[in-house]
Symmetry: C2
Subunit: 196 residues, 2 copies
């Protein structure tokens, strides 16, 4: 492995260091995808020591969440989904995601990500890798049913479609139905995807 | 109403007339949306007689299908969905849509529409109006269940999400699972949306 390069004269922890690391992370993720990007590679690209990246970000997942301006930390999503009775999985999933998307900030970030995903193959690859490793795979492992990964993937399709229809396309009556009705419609369908 | 204007010297049925009408239709739809656009308005915009538009296109719906290069005629979709036993609605819907999207031409057109919808508010409005009037509402009327329009709208969200995940984002394992498995997963979920 190559030793991290240091840009001469750059402050090791100046006010812009965190931002510079995030920019380097975005570029590294875009170039190599999620799986092939390491903290060390981001540090090298940013011209700082890997220890400094670790000072600001606990893990590669952290870096990804911040660099992509995700509306919510995917690991927290996985935790909140799995924490509760199994026969209420569908309802928890609907509540967690719609709760985030109904907030102004969450909705804005989600829309920005959707637009990037559709217009850029690199962002699409990055998001599918990140979502797969941080949400789909952990939830599938915890489920312990046959075809768990496909089941969780199908849940993802249903959520993606609701996001598109309600927030990006404005397809009625999905776009203006009240939140509780929408959660009530989604809950049994998501449950069927997972355990039916 | 204003009498249709004729551009002096334009051939009433020359080789480009059909194309010119389609261009005028696209512009009219984009400007006014689906509902507010009439055959008469498209004729006026194209500088031809309304009868000539009717010579090439039976109806406004026809014009829309051609102008937007839809992968399949939405009225045909509605017919094929409704034609058969009620407890197999979910399976027919999955088969009809995935059948179109798995074909090279259908998939290419669908992707182009998705990209336009996400990047242009006008196209989004146009598509949501067109899909609503030509598929969602007729199918909902035929269903005869409470909340039929919302139910059919929820089916649309599930289909939109599968299209996004499988064809535009490449989210695994949904992207590469075989078609029959995907239809088998979708059928009961779409059925639950409609009649559950």
């Amino acid at each position: 492995m190559t030793a991290p390069r240091r840009t001469p004269g750059r402050r090791p922890g100046g006010p812009d260091t965190r931002g510079e690391i995030l920019t380097a992370a975005r570029e590294s993720f875009a170039e190599k995808g999620f799986s092939a990007t390491s903290i060390r590679a981001v540090a090298r690209h940013a011209g700082v020591d890997a220890a400094l990246v670790h000072h600001y970000f606990d893990s590669k997942d952290d870096l990804f969440v911040e660099a992509m301006a995700l509306p919510i930390d995917p690991r927290q999503v996985a935790f909140r989904i799995l924490d509760g009775p199994r026969d209420q999985l569908g309802r928890r999933i609907a509540s967690v995601f719609l709760g985030v998307w109904e907030s102004a900030d969450g909705q804005q970030r989600m829309k920005a990500i959707f637009r990037s995903v559709v217009s850029s193959d690199e962002v699409a690859r990055l998001m599918r890798e990140g979502i797969s490793e941080m949400i789909i795979q952990p939830v599938a492992r915890a489920l312990d049913v046959p075809d768990a990964t496909l089941r969780v993937g199908m849940v993802a399709t249903q959520l993606i479609g609701v996001a598109m229809a309600r927030y990006l396309v404005g397809l009625e009556p999905v776009a203006s139905v009240d939140l509780q009705t929408l959660i009530d419609r989604l809950a049994p369908v998501l449950q069927l995807h997972l355990t039916g």
